[in-house]
Amino acid sequence: MSRIPFVSLARALPARVDDWVNPIVVKELRQAVRGRTAAAMLSFFLFVETATLGFALLRSQLLSEASGGALGEGTRAFSILLGVLLGTAFLFVPVATWFRMTSERNDQNLDLLFVTTLTPGEIASGKLLAGGFLTLWLFSASLPFLTFTYFLRGVDFFTVLVLLSIGYLGVLAATQVALLAATVPGTKVFRALVALLALWGVVTIATLTIASSIALLSSGAMVLFVSRDARIAAVVMLATFTSLFAVARVLTTACLTPQVANRARPVRLTFSVIWVLALGGSYALALLASDGEVFAVGLWGTYAILALTLLAAASERDRLGPRVLREVPAGARRLLAFPFFSGAASGLSWSVLVAALTTLFGTFARAYLPTRGTDDVERALVAGPGVLAYILCYALTGRFLRERFLGNRVSEGHTWVISLLLAVAASVLPVLVGVFGLSAHEQPRSLFPWLVLNPFSVLDAQHAPVYVTIGATLALLSVFPKIRWFLAKVREFRKPGDAA
């Protein structure tokens, strides 16, 4: 009698799981099963794995007969089989995910998903999970081969487990990069450039994964638990990997979210968390390693990302619709929420605020750092804000030019292109005029005057204070006419119906 509820539960479980699974995953896996690509790839993969293992067995037999033993033959066979597995997975899963997403990502198809109850986050997760399942499928197909290498000796079970986990995470990260590339909106040319960039990203992840696998295979995965340096390196790599993965994931969701929604909020919240962890982490590592250079790297990374967020913020929309405004909190929290909402003014304020807090923290924290590497920190604290001042100036000027002269021809979302062109033109043209426009005796001996509009001129340590002053002046000149606009945006930022 007691078996009946268990039996009915066991019968109901598949249906429950079927209902619980993300619909995108179900669709993607069904498509993969029905399509020819996955089957062809698997057949080819199994053929190569079988041939490799057969060759390894033959070699092992020959060596065994010749020398009476073949220690390490398992390691050799495992590394080849793992290489084939990772090579196939890196080649197939991200490309298949990118292809599927790109072919389905015409506006109408995505629109159809938005009229359902699926959220953009579920769509992004579903596509990634489907990639994860395809990878798992490949890994499970290779498991019999990999297990067999254990009997050839030279490879321990724990290392196999660690290497497979690293490989799996690597393929998942590459799939996420491919997914982001497939969802970025823009013209065909721009999306092709993004796809090339993503390809470079996938190749880099694949190279890093395979290289770290080979290193761990030769040393054994236990090294991660024995050596302190290896532990720190593993934690740093894992943290960097997790941060980049989170950024790619949140950007993918933002790209999939309709413009009318508050799509900047999750992005800025994620960036804020990563900013705190990266800056705090790099400072802690600098103290641990007694080397300020690690903190300088953290500062430069932060300033580089802020330069990109400034350009992106200038391209955000000016007006917020009722769907975004209805989420604005009341009272004092309204102003706290302002930098985290969609909109150009919010985006610019978030970037400037984070840049100011980074510089403040860096200036305060520098005092407690060891002497080694403090020069790097000091240079980052001067040059970093200097670059940002220039970028802020170009971002706002680009926005001004678009609004005033190109409103009908260039969309709000492409403001960053104008800003970037402006920065490139201002950096290159004076140098060209200096070199080609003036006769030899008219040309100054130093390049200094020709680089005053170049954001990266602040990297010149000798003239950095002058360049930073010029950058700050340009930033102030571009900010000043926008103050009224900014204050108006802050005033408008309230729930519909709330009194000012």
Partner: protein, 312 residues
């Protein structure tokens, strides 16, 4: 269920795609949405489907704002865009099953609803066929089936008959009639005005984002002309009837028409009185009238009359 838009405005940069559109339609009604390309039809429909946000104005489904409560609108609105499904390696059944899952349908309820909608839209026989291998007409039927999966009370169809052959168009028309009879409120845009006129009870003609004409089909078709034209088929003496008609007070124009069966088209001052008086006078004068029927202006005539072919 009533769908109502109030002063909808949608701007894309400096372009105003929709400029103060207000109209309403209710359960059991099929409402036509007519206008040249670029008139703002698709944008208005996308606003109603919660895919766009109006710059100004609002739209309501049963009094609930779709701008402020888009989630509510999505539950009651089924939307068929003007594009066909392009998913690869997916069968009709799997495609519908996927969307049913995406609408939150679970377990037995999902299987039941997919099966009944396949049957209703006559897709049961091709449920295992790949979507991208279907004909346009079949794909359009799949689109309609997809929009019905969450059993919406309102249907918004953007150019559903575009590119369909006559048979597929007739089948689609019949399906829509059944849906309207089931109590659904349907908004449909189409460029095939003759067919639209046979289907809709009301219509809206827009150009450059503005409403040019709106109301019941009868009002639109008759309201466009200040006079009434009737076609009369006498058993004999058609030419005499033309001369007689021209002598009558209230007759604006009369002419011989019809090549095989002679008929006379008489344009009278508007109103039933003029038509009744003319008929009585003709019979009294000895004309034997076999048939008299009013000639209505077609939706195409009205469309050509009120639009100028301008784009917003």
């Amino acid at each position: 269920m009533k769908v109502e838009t109030v002063g909808l405005v949608k701007e894309f940069g400096a372009t105003r795609a929709v400029n103060g559109i207000s109209f309403s339609f209710s359960s059991g009604e099929i409402y036509g949405f007519v206008g040249p390309n670029g008139a703002g039809k698709t944008t208005t429909m996308r606003i109603l489907a919660t895919l766009e946000e109006p710059t100004r104005g609002n739209a309501y489904v049963d009094g609930v704002s779709i701008v402020e409560e888009p989630e509510h609108a999505r539950r009651v609105i089924g939307y068929v865009p003007d594009s066909l499904p392009s998913h690869r390696d997916v069968s009709v059944h799997d495609y519908l099953d996927f969307f049913a899952r995406a609408y939150g349908r679970k377990g037995e309820d999902r299987r039941r609803v997919v099966s009944s909608i396949e049957e209703f839209t006559n897709l049961s026989g091709i449920r295992e066929k790949m979507v991208n291998a279907l004909s346009k007409g079949m794909k359009q039927r799949v689109c309609l089936a997809r929009a019905l999966l969450h059993e919406p009370q309102v249907l918004i169809l953007d150019e559903p008959a575009a590119g369909l052959d006559p048979r597929a168009r007739i089948e689609l028309r019949e399906l829509l009639r059944v849906l309207a009879a089931q109590g659904k409120a349907i908004l449909i845009s189409s460029h095939i005005l003759t067919e639209l006129a046979e289907l809709v009870s009301g219509a809206l003609i827009v150009e450059r984002g503005r409403i040019l004409k709106a109301g019941s089909l009868h009002d639109i078709l008759t309201g466009a002309r200040p006079q009434r034209t009737v076609s009369i088929r006498p058993l004999e003496r058609a030419e005499d009837l033309v001369r007689f008609a021209l002598e009558q007070p209230g007759t604006l124009e009369a002419r011989l028409a019809g090549s095989t069966v002679p008929t006379v088209e008489v344009t009278l001052e508007d109103g039933d009185e003029a038509a009744a008086a003319f008929l009585a006078a003709a019979v009294a004068a000895g004309f034997r009238i076999a048939e008299l029927r009013p000639l209505r202006g077609s939706l195409e005539d009205v469309f050509l009359e009120v639009t100028k072919g301008e784009i917003a």
